[in-house]
Amino acid sequence: MRTEPIADGSGTPVPVARTWHWGRWLAAAVALVVAGWLAYLVVVNPRLDWGKVAEYLFNERILSGVWVTIEISVLATALGLVLGVLVAVMRLAHNPVLSGLATFYIWFFRGTPVLVQLIFWYNLAFLFPELVLKIPFTMIGLKWDTNQVMTGFTSAMLGLGLNLAAYFAETVRAGIQAVDRGQTEAAYALGMTPAKRMRVIVLPQALRIIIPPTGNEFISMLKTTSLVYVVAGHDLMTNASQIYKANNRIMELLIVASVWYMVMTAVATFLQGRLERRFGSDAVRLVRGGGVAARVLPKVAA
């Protein structure tokens, strides 16, 4: 906004008046009153013991839960990303059996709630008490007790990872399809096979396009891990719930857990911002144009 005075007809500088944004002041006042009232109700609530919140915020079990949550998020996201790329490539294959399998996978894992999947993996021993890996018609092989393999941690990682893969496959597919068709033609014209074209030319570009959305998937995963408490995965939510089941301080421990989830999300958001700055301009350039790009790159476009 201009602050330098403007000369009037006779050449005398006249100051510029300030614009008053009445709408902003009004909105701010309403927000302050409503939010302040709600905060007041919670903060001064005699049934809420803030001392307990402070006490449990750095409790050893809570901190170890935070660490497990990060571990599960990272591992499940990694599994989901790798598997998602594989499923996406299969989905786009000319081989109808491969693309059919990929379509089935996506349909199945998106069609069942992740909560059901978690409980399923955790209870796999009901169906298969032993996991056996051996060469057919011989006695050579390995055998595990299902209940020892499918701990809360592994079933959480498997359930969340396989589920993410189904969603992420669609993102990757959009990314692959957003790569200019001319890149494929040029790769073929150089004498590349379809597989080489995918690996050397298309995927490196598609991955640059989908890196920003992967940040989103990770942030969402941080909080989806809270479902793991149903299979006792010893994550943040599991440990918080075990504490409040013992001492009945439900609200206090929910606040403690929320604070940690928000801290983790804030850190992940910061990292995602850096990822986007690093790859965002690449992504926009590689896609050129709207359509698919608009769906894959909701953040970058802004």
């Binding site: 890149q183 150089l190 096979t193 350039r285």
Partner: protein, 267 residues
């Protein structure tokens, strides 16, 4: 031309179409080794489609198309023609360079990486050796100084020259150009045409789909006029351009030459 050498391209009654639309209606066309053939014609006449059939980017659905001694897309074995696998297509295309209207440089690679890409990933050339050779090819198209720039940092003319270097790095026996200057700003056309002229002077067998009539006249050994999916007229460029036999050729040339050499060029 080197008489006696087998023709590089022999097209006999080549037909092709998709979605119920016939694009090529029986193209007959022959290219001898070392020749520069130019293909002109109105848009939709099938000239680009024909060029893309030559390296198997589009399928031939009728007639016979023999390129570098092979029936494109099929191999004769036990009394039958067996369709090629993707691997066979890939092996065939190694010997044919192609330059696209929209350059199609690999967007995530530098100019040098683009040129070295084919040798490294297709021919199995050691990366160090491939980079040295790529540098030589870039130097040849006058872009050694821009080797480490990405495509988006180059002008259209520079990008197209990198694309030519990329194709040459495969040591092709035949070069296909699909309207190589159509997407360029007018002042960038000549730098690309100069590279192509140099290539022609070295005896490279080239097939060029183009709207640059002056280039066809000056550099071309032969000129074919495409319309409605057939070769309407062909011959020595100077003769075809000076005295076209068919009415369609005359109409096309007058509209194109009117635009290229008429008053609008002098403004």
């Amino acid at each position: 031309m080197n008489a006696g050498a087998a023709p590089v391209v022999v097209a006999t009654d080549v037909r092709m179409g998709y979605g119920g639309v016939q694009v090529l209606n029986g193209v007959d066309f022959t290219v001898a080794s070392g020749e520069v053939s130019c293909i002109i014609g109105p848009s939709g006449s099938g000239k680009s489609t024909f060029l893309r059939c030559l390296n198997g980017l589009e399928p031939v659905l009728g007639g016979s198309l023999r390129v570098l001694g092979e029936e494109v897309g099929h191999t004769l074995r036990d009394g039958r023609y067996h369709p090629w696998t993707p691997k066979q297509f890939a092996a065939f295309r190694r010997n044919i360079g192609m330059v696209f209207q929209r350059f199609n440089l690999f967007a995530h690679q530098s100019a040098l990486e683009n040129v070295a890409c084919g040798p490294v990933h297709v021919l199995g050339t050691p990366p160090d050796r491939a980079r040295t050779l790529a540098m030589e090819h870039l130097d040849r198209v006058g872009l050694a100084d821009h080797a480490h720039k990405r495509p988006h940092q180059l002008s259209g003319g520079q990008q197209q020259r990198v694309a030519i270097a990329r194709a040459l790095a495969m040591n092709p026996a035949l070069m296909l150009f699909d309207e190589p200057t159509s997407a360029l700003d007018p002042e960038l056309v000549d730098e690309v045409l100069e590279v192509m002229k140099g290539l022609a002077a070295e005896g490279m067998t080239m097939i060029v789909v183009t709207h640059e009539i002056a280039f066809a006249r000056e550099v071309g050994d032969r000129l074919a006029f495409f319309a409605d999916g057939v070769v309407v007229e062909e011959g020595r460029p100077r003769e075809v351009l000076a005295a076209p036999e068919h009415e369609r050729t005359r109409a096309f040339l007058s509209s194109v030459l009117g635009a290229q050499e008429g008053p609008s060029r002098n403004t």
